[in-house]
């Protein structure tokens, strides 16, 4: 599995000279395995991905965790959607009432976007998922609803005994007086358990989280505690707050490493960084 980060910023694209290292594009990750191409989320990072898209790829699967704007805002600018020779499958969580297609149409329509979903030349299929297991190519994928406002899933992707987990927006500590002690009562545990590599929400420093409880995101500390509970092998701290500069992110990272005993590898998500799993 080859995993490329095209965007790891949370909430809002936030380019600027003070964010050149980690990047300002919102969530978008590409996973390639043999002939299969999966894109996790369609944040603003998907635009650059589309611009350098391998012309040999004739089918692409976009797995959306949820439909908050920072995770879909790049879809309309993804070049393969305008290529009739490419088949695009979009997967995303079921809601309570409105279908995934209807919710996506709200974005692909004026005044938010000039082109409607059915006007796109690409062949688009839409698949609704919930707590589901499915295969794309040789990849085995599990999705489960996790703790974040609105219908939101995380993904566990397995191939050749390697496990990659993607939970960019997740607040497992919400309201729990037992976090992180009880696996069976912890959101996302099933997905993250023993992951080789996990991209996990770490939007806030602890002092910021205290005033943002219930917004659906994690502090660095909670992300790491969650990783300990799930016994992950490596965690990429993801979904950086749009106000955090490169300097602040480095500071937060080293302070956290100094303060906590972290029994696994942690790194900050960086745009363009590539990870390989066997």
């Amino acid at each position: 599995m080859k995993i490329t980060i095209w965007g790891c910023r949370g909430s809002l694209p936030s380019p600027g000279p003070e964010k050149n290292i980690f990047g300002g594009n919102t969530s978008c990750v590409q996973l390639e395995y043999k002939d299969t191409c999966i894109i996790l989320d369609g944040g603003s990072g998907i635009q650059r991905l589309g611009a350098s898209f391998d012309s040999k790829i004739k089918e692409v699967n976009i797995l959306l965790t949820h439909l908050h704007m920072d995770h879909i805002m790049g879809l309309g600018f993804f070049q393969p959607l305008y290529n009739s020779k490419i088949k695009v499958n979009i997967w995303g969580p079921s809601g309570s009432a409105e279908s995934l297609e209807h919710r996506l149409r709200r974005y692909f329509s004026p005044p938010l976007f000039p082109i409607r979903l059915n006007e796109l030349p690409s062949h688009i299929s839409i698949f609704e998922i919930n707590n589901s297991s499915f295969n794309i190519g040789e990849l085995q994928i599990k999705s489960e609803y996790i703790c974040h406002p609105g219908p939101t899933v995380g993904y566990r992707i397995e191939a050749n005994n390697s496990v990659f987990v993607y939970m960019p927006d997740h607040e497992p500590a919400l309201g729990s007086s037992h976090f992180p002690d009880l696996p069976e009562w912890t959101s996302g545990y099933n997905l993250a358990k023993n992951a080789d590599l996990i991209f996990h929400d770490a939007q806030y420093k602890n002092s910021e989280y205290a005033n943002r409880i219930g917004w659906g995101h994690s502090s660095y500390e909670d992300a790491i505690k969650f990783g300990c509970l799930a016994k992950v092998k490596k965690m990429i701290l993801f979904h950086h707050d749009p106000l955090h500069t490169d300097e602040q992110l480095f500071k937060l990272y080293y302070q956290t490493k100094e303060r906590m005993h972290v029994p696994f590898e942690i790194e900050l998500g960086i745009e363009d960084k590539v990870y390989e799993l066997p």
């Binding site: 079921s94 309570s96 919930n130 707590n131 489960e144 609803y145 729990s176």
Partner: protein, 131 residues
């Protein structure tokens, strides 16, 4: 060990923060959590009992009508909710494990997650009389 669905986890987190007694059961009727106010009312601690199946929790407190006649499990609101997947309400008497006789009022509602997945039920209850 696997985790409960997010809907059940959030129900427990809410129950954990309430000062009214709450029961949570899974889709099979197993009592998977009750909060501290419920422990105080029932005279039983969750850490000691752990999960209980429906035949245990529906009889352990000897639910009875005002004449002392034991009620069958299917007359209890939470069991009705499990059967119908619809809210139910009722009042009856119980013997708590400290030997006290309480009249309690119970409201049960189903937990139905997206998209229409029946995941269990919650009962909130409160003491209305004591003998």
């Amino acid at each position: 060990m696997s985790s409960h669905s997010i809907e059940i986890i959030l129900s427990r987190q809410l129950a954990d923060n309430l000062s009214i007694p709450v029961f949570i059961v899974d889709p099979h009727g197993n009592l998977i959590f009750y909060n501290e106010p419920a422990e105080n009312l029932l005279g039983l601690r969750f850490e000691e009992t752990g999960s209980m199946n429906v035949s245990e929790w529906s009889t352990i407190f000897k639910p009875q009508d005002e004449n002392g006649k034991l009620l069958p499990a299917e007359d209890l609101p939470l069991v009705q909710t499990m059967a119908t997947q619809a809210p139910a309400h009722g009042s009856f008497w119980i013997n708590n494990l400290n030997g006290l006789l309480y009249q309690i009022s119970v409201t049960a509602y189903p937990i139905v997650g997206r998209p229409n997945r029946f995941l269990g039920a919650v009962a909130i209850f409160w003491k209305t009389l004591e003998k």
